[in-house]
Symmetry: C3
Subunit: 443 residues, 3 copies
């Protein structure tokens, strides 16, 4: 680090711009310098957006911890920390190459493992791009954590996390976003619109979450012996709400950052993202008010997330007014979807399947319906193909992965461990030792 | 999203800069490209600053929740979520046009509703600017929430929130910031200095908060039958402190972002903002130490906020040394102001009236006194006119609005509901079901 | 603030670029404009990075509060608030001049106090640079807070904080980073590599923390009468985990921001920072799993921090693969270091000495070993000199400072105060009055 006190000039500047001191100034050298400054802005934006998306990890962790019981809070924090940590290393070693490497067979990338496309002194853009993609991969992985909360063996969860970050997410992602290279991006080739990943990130996470919740089965006490639904309220709603605010903030990196370039397009993406989230939370609140007689907070918070997930695909190609409609519909859908899955005994403590899977599909469809450039049966058809392909790829593969884990290292903790709480049995700790916590004895 | 693995060039660059491949390079085309790159930097800064200001919503929510009782935490989170969600939609539909639209009558804007000034393919700057203004509007709205905490009917609060975001804030804001268009900005025309909104945002919020607290009356138990003040301590101080750190962070978007341009001016605004906050927290701590015998945390935290509010108006036009003085004085003022309002039976659980109303007025006055370009009776006179106009516009209007709500849908919950807590009665929930919470039975 | 509704042009642009309307466009004026736009990007990045580093204050506060008992939470928040507030003013008045001012005697800077090198209308770069350096100084100061938690007198802590921010940190920092000016940067002159401050910030904080913990002695109850170690678990693990996520985020400002320029180098620094943190948390988890039979959360969280501290020095000069190795080794070191200090009766409630002192030293050494430009005994030798100089300067000076405080205003609270908790005795408050908190009576 250097300072230039008393010198009155900004010495680093010529260096960043690589103007050689005595070279003549030409139109071409000026043009090259302009391009360089623009590329610096592109780096800044892509990496700052990556910061915002990274912070979503904290948001997901808080939402999940807040919406579940105190006795499992350490476990939830550990899962989210490891999701990101292990995901980062795995995506560095394997995932990124499968997703964006040059594809030999037209199906998966086969170069770029361990960031081997980068050589010191070479163009570092691949590093900036990797950073942005790595936080996306981690988002897909961490979505699943919520649906499997309060009953999953830690080691089993880690095994899943590696599978999703190394294989399931990157290969599908390459289909939708990797088209430049020898045809691995077949969905992109069809014209599939998924600007920032309603399908690529959120539905992949959501359908994997569905598989996980099904393989695990419901938590003890979630359904009475007579088969009635029993609510298991979250232990810290302010934390969950903070998590949603953090996620909303992070989405301003997630969607506008997907330009990976500093240009004027980001303005509309910001506005659309914000309006859809706002509409989603309002409509989910109203829906819960009508249905339950009171404006419920967990539905309202999930409504904001539903709007955000839904606008993720169409954010760059629909108008602000359409964004409000898309978000509002997502806010209604999420309430009914949560109730539906609860009814068919898929126990998803945070509503991840509904928020990310179902609303991700809705948003992807909406990108076709509300497309500013006009819509058609063919455009909508391609969107449906993308939605279907995501489910067809992710759900069975994740289901097999979870079954495999279940049969080998084990996916679910014992009944005693679940009753006691995972904090104590899996991690030897207690999240709140100074407080009287009643969930420790709760069923 | 695209990557350029193995290509070694940054393809997006020419596209962002719109250099046509075969066009000759000229001085003019280079100049246009330079201006374009600068505008990209302006977009980035304005939108990143909007992110920081958005995050202040979480800060306000945590400060309010932390400084009040556990039995009302869900209600507080809901109010803050809905403030922002409803505020976003209302400011999109109505407020922005009133504030920044072209003014026909010289008093309020009458174009730009529903962002209708933007047409796809047109200049998207209005979208970036809207985003930044929308988070400002939401800040004004959310200030009021704290002063009305623990006893306000949820539906009544929503009605107020719509009124402030649609009418009260935008019209005053247009007077101070909308001068470009046919004279609606009469205060700006007088030379009124309010760079980032000590008056426009904070005093508007603060005086509306005062009206709300007066119309509501104090919480049950705040004053004994003998009329003595009874402290009602906040239930989660670490959350409140986190909220203040988040607000301080957000203010680095609030003040420097008000350039809405990436230029060198932001450096001094950053430094001034930080020094005023630091001085405010130190002086409030010392004042509480002298007055109560111990360095109190709620005063110290409010002191930081007081310094931030006070420097919001003068941050671009005073020196760093003056900023320390301005912040320090705010830190002293806030302590005495909180005690004053408590004494005259205005029950403001978080000190919002003192922090935002009173210190907003002080900061606006200070912008005249400490103006780097020199001061005069006339400059100070204009500042006083602005301060008075804000009170004269906001307080009666907000008072009438609250009275109107009170007489129609109702503003205050019943005594039983207040005793039980709003989480249960208004939202059917419990913020901390796993913990033994005593405020559930507290008066 | 201005908007340009209906005008379709971005008026601020020529102003930011200072193109005079009628001046002829020349190659030179274009080049000057390009340099100006690049400098705007440099300002943006340096100040946005400063925001991220500022937010680390919240992260440190949460980690410290989460890892200690509920009865001391207010005190911890106050210390962290005042660390930053007082540190800001002191670094403005004294520290910055000592660190980066022109050095007359070749040892310390002697100009630039009270930011006197800046004159209105002059180059504001010094203000942007000050902002970034001020948040660095505050980081060094706040590290110590954790090691001294739960037993330090508030006034004594403030006295230390002033000493570190005014003298200890800036003078050492000048040696490592101030070489431009008349030789005060003797370490930099030797070729010492400490890009973002593993030694300058973290080891300075860590060794001061060691001195503080030694002078204070262990908390009551930390060791039984028979001399056995007794764990004192933290009271809010989700808060601590949130703190680590915030710190991780902040480090994306800390390390890449140390370019203080918007260039392409930041990409690799981002990637290295992230991979080292990930590897650190994974290896610390595995180490705790092997040693204690369960994957422990406090070790895993500290492992992430250990990786971050370790990569801080080498982040700009090692490869991503080396970063994984450096972080992984830090993750192992931190577990054994924590156990070592606990064993020799240095009671460090959050592991600050191990994370910042020991892993800071490791990272600085690693910068020599893994240097991309090649290593040698001489390079490693210089790194060892820097590490030793840091300890030799910081530890004795901090030790003397703490002893001095102890003998005068007092450093440790009384036994009764410690048992009761500092929140009540030092600040007259209660962090969680609505909850049943058992640590209030805990030894």
């Amino acid at each position: 680090m250097k300072l230039f006190l008393n010198l009155g000039i900004w010495l680093a500047l010529p260096a960043s711009l690589a103007f050689a001191g005595d070279d003549p100034i030409t139109l071409e050298s000026n043009k090259a310098a302009i391009e360089l400054v623009q590329s610096h802005a592109d780096y800044l934006w892509t990496l700052i957006a990556a910061c915002l998306v990274f912070f979503m990890q904290a948001g997901f962790a808080l939402v999940e911890a807040g919406f579940t019981r105190a006795k499992n809070s350490i476990n939830i924090m550990m899962k989210n920390l490891m999701d990101f940590s292990i995901g980062s290393i795995v995506f560095f070693a394997v995932g990124f190459g499968l997703m964006f490497g040059v594809s030999k067979g037209g199906f998966i990338g086969t170069t770029g493992f361990f960031l081997s496309d980068y050589t010191p002194g070479g163009d570092p853009w691949v590093l900036a791009f990797w950073m942005f993609q790595a936080v996306f991969c981690a988002t897909a992985a961490t979505i699943v954590s919520g649906a499997m909360a309060e009953r999953t063996k830690f080691i089993g969860y880690i095994a899943y996390s590696i599978g999703l970050s190394a294989i399931i997410y990157p290969i599908f992602g390459g289909w939708a976003w990797g088209s430049l290279f020898n045809g691995s991006g077949w969905l992109e080739g069809l014209g599939f619109i998924d600007f920032a990943g309603s399908t690529v990130v959120h539905s992949v996470g959501g359908w994997a979450a569905l598989a996980g919740a099904i393989v695990l089965g419901p938590r003890i006490g979630k359904y009475t012996k007579e088969g009635k639904i029993r609510p298991i309220p979250g232990h810290n709603i302010p934390l969950a709400a903070l998590g949603v605010f953090i996620l909303w903030l992070g989405w301003f990196g997630f969607n506008p950052g997907s330009t990976t370039a500093a240009n004027k397009d980001i303005a509309m993406i910001f506005v659309n993202t914000n309006l859809a989230a706002a509409a989603g939370s309002i409509l989910a609140m109203i829906t819960s008010w009508v249905k339950f007689g009171k404006p419920e907070i967990s539905m309202s918070l999930n409504g904001a997330l539903a709007g955000l997930v839904a606008i993720t695909s169409p954010c760059a190609t629909v108008s602000p007014m359409s964004s409000i409609i898309i978000g509002a519909i997502a806010g209604v859908i999420v309430v009914f979807s949560v109730l539906f899955f609860e009814k068919i005994r898929v126990d998803d403590p945070v509503g991840a399947v509904s928020v990310h899977g179902v609303c991700g599909a809705w948003g992807t469809l909406a990108a076709g319906i509300f497309n500013m450039g006009g819509t058609s049966a063919s455009i909508i058809g391609v969107q449906l193909i993308g939605i279907a392909a995501c489910f067809a790829w992710t759900f069975p593969l994740a289901f097999i992965l979870f079954k495999l884990i279940d049969k080998t290292i084990g996916l679910r903790v014992s009944k005693e461990e679940e009753m006691t709480g995972l904090d104590q049995t899996e991690h030897g700790g207690n999240a709140y030792p100074d407080f009287e916590v009643s969930s420790y004895i709760q069923g």
